[in-house]
Every structure is written in structure tokens, then in C-alpha cells.
Symmetry: C3
Subunit: 155 residues, 3 copies
Amino acid sequence: MSKITQLMKNEAFLAYSTYTAIVLLKMMLMSLITIYFRLARKAFSNPEDITALGNYETAKKYLRTDPDVERVRRCHLNDLENIVPFIGIGLLYALSGPDLSTALLHFRIFVMARLFHTIAYVTPLPQPSRGLSWLVGFVVTISMACRGLTTGLYL
Amino acid sequence: MSKITQLMKNEAFLAYSTYTAIVLLKMMLMSLITIYFRLARKAFSNPEDITALGNYETAKKYLRTDPDVERVRRCHLNDLENIVPFIGIGLLYALSGPDLSTALLHFRIFVMARLFHTIAYVTPLPQPSRGLSWLVGFVVTISMACRGLTTGLYL
Amino acid sequence: MSKITQLMKNEAFLAYSTYTAIVLLKMMLMSLITIYFRLARKAFSNPEDITALGNYETAKKYLRTDPDVERVRRCHLNDLENIVPFIGIGLLYALSGPDLSTALLHFRIFVMARLFHTIAYVTPLPQPSRGLSWLVGFVVTISMACRGLTTGLYL
């Protein structure tokens, strides 16, 4: 019924959507890690989440923040702040007709940098490991924007 | 001048962009609900927002957090954390040539799950209603990722 | 090897991806402003970030929130909450075959509104400048959604 579009014959675009999906799966993992730490540390945000832990008076001490939960949440938010630009700028970049090997290099470095960023944040590893992995992803995105805007600029 | 592209003849892609727009309109509603609760509860974040409520000394008590405002904001952030993956992974999925009825099933379940999640979060409904609605949206996104990555994988 | 797709001949789509990239570059600037204020105000979130400031006992006073850092972070989050809908709804809009000059008007007003919103938030300018710039971006996105959903509606 529906058929694969012209786009799927564009290898750079195919690579873009594949790596986007992979880095978003990584981001979705943060939700699971947050749930794990909320249960393990008994630290919840909503009164309705603690009813299974006893009556409200005895359970309300679990309505609290926990350093590990907050750390994972900061990592998750940092993902959002960096992956959303990758998706939007990557679309322009992929459609600007980049050399396939250059495009793959950009996408692979970005995904690896974000993977390493998560490990550095959640472990945590000593700085500057987290800072540098963030910077690598940031610079890759800027590089894609430069190529996309100089090639396809339309204002 | 501009004309409808090939993409718009791809029904799965058309359905993808339609449901993406609908679920994003739902997310934008969270901004309006936040504004409503900020005004109703008189709970603001910025000093410049309370100047209409009197001079700074009498009004600065309104620079505070309110449980209802924070609840809506958590719901809004949860939307971002789940709808961004749906958009990015849905793009790959829609272009991977899925069966149209299967694609519609994915998109409709996702949008309904997020609608119900919002109702369960803001009301609030007793758990596990919010947890389950979150899980349904999460699993639908994983399912789209599996199909997209196995069909169109390009690494 | 890869070649420019049909999409890049669609001027409205080209304009959409260009303005998306520009507004995302603006959003990425928020990360740099956050880093600047964290360093200038010595206000950090993670213990591993303050090791360069002395031993943990003397440096742990820098694990704190600062009003300027929090202000930039609220602006950054507001960007995410508004630019993600612009990207998702803009995709449907751009593919719905809008008149090019109307499309450009939407994209330009949105990007200028978000630029002004950032200036109004970070300075800060007196209200309602920030509120109005937020509203303009919000209404532009709703307008794109109306056009996209009435033209290409597929449910």
C-alpha cells in the first residue's frame, strides 16, 4: 500500500534517521534508569506514587529528592538539550547532499560522544570526561549546521 | 510556486506527520495549563512577573513553587522526554515502508496513551494509571524503533 | 554518491529546515550562557565539577543554585518546550504545500520571536515583553498546525 519513498534511496538521509533512532533509544534508557533509582532509593515526586509503600503518613517521607535520581534527571535533560538540535540540524545537513563518508563520521562521533557522556555522568567519571564528551557532540552539531547552512541556505 | 512533494503521496508518512502535529498540540496545551495554575495559585519564578501584583516587597511572597504548578511542569517535561523519541524514531519508521494499518495503529495508540497520561497526571488519577499510560507510549516507540532499525538499518 | 533529494527542490521545505537550524543554533547558545554563568557565579550541580576549585570541604559551598544560572536554564527549557512543537508541526506544514511567502512569514516571525524572547528573559526586560514574545511564537505554531491539519489531514 505505502511504498518506500525517494528519501530512502538517499543514503545520507537513511544514515541520519538510523543514528537518530539509535541515540533516541539511548535517551529513552534514561527513563528506565530514573525509575530504577526512584525505586531503589525510595525517592518519589508524586503523592499518588507512594500509596503502595503504606499509608500516606508513614510513606510521605519518600516524597523527596535523591542525589542519584537528580543526577540521572540532569543527564536526561542534557540529552534533550543536545539531541533535539542534532535531529533538527541533522535533517538540513542530511538533505544538503553531504559526502556519505563525511556524514557517517559526523553521526557516529555524535552518537559515541553522547553514549560516553551518559557513562561519564551516571558513573560519575572525574571531569573533564563529561565536559569533553558534551563538547564533542556540540562541535559535531555546529559542524553539521555550518555545512547545511552554507550549502542549502535559504533566507 | 512550491508544490506538494513525493512524501505527501506516502500515506504512512502523511499519517506520521499528522499524529506528530496532534500530539504536539497536546503538549503545547501544557504551557497554557501552567500559566493558568501560576495565575490561579499566584506562584511565579521571575521577579519581573510579579510587578503587576504590587510593589516588590509586598509581592515577593509570590516568588514560590506551588504543588499544582510543579505537577503540570513535571507532566510537560515527561511529554518532552517521550514525544521527542516518538518524532525521531517515527521518522525512520514511517520511511521504512510499514503496512499503513500497522503504522496507524502505532500512531493512534501512542497519541491516546499520551492523552490519557496527561489526564492521569494532572487530575491526578490513582496509580498505576499514569505509569501504565507512560509504559504504553514507551513500548509503542520501542516497537517502531525495532521495525525501523531492522528494515532500514544503515550503520 | 548521495544526491540532493526531491525535497530540496521544495522551497518551503528548504526554508523550513534552514529556519529550524537557525533557531536550534540559538537554543544551543543557551548551553554556552549557562556554562558562562556557572563559572562566573561559581554555582555547580555535580561534586565532580568543583574538584578544580580546591578540596571537597572548601569547594562544596559551590554546589548551589544561583538566580542567574536558574534564569538561563528556565529560558533554555522554555526554548525546548516551544521549538520542539515548531519542528514537528513545521514538518507537516512545510509538506502541506503552503504558499512560499506565507511559509517564510511564519518561519521568520517564529525565529525573531524566540530571539527576542531570549533577550527579554536573560536581560531581563520588564514584562510583558517576554510574555508577548512567547505568545507570538506560540500563535505562529498554532497557525502552522491549522494549515497543516486542514490541508493534509489524515486520521
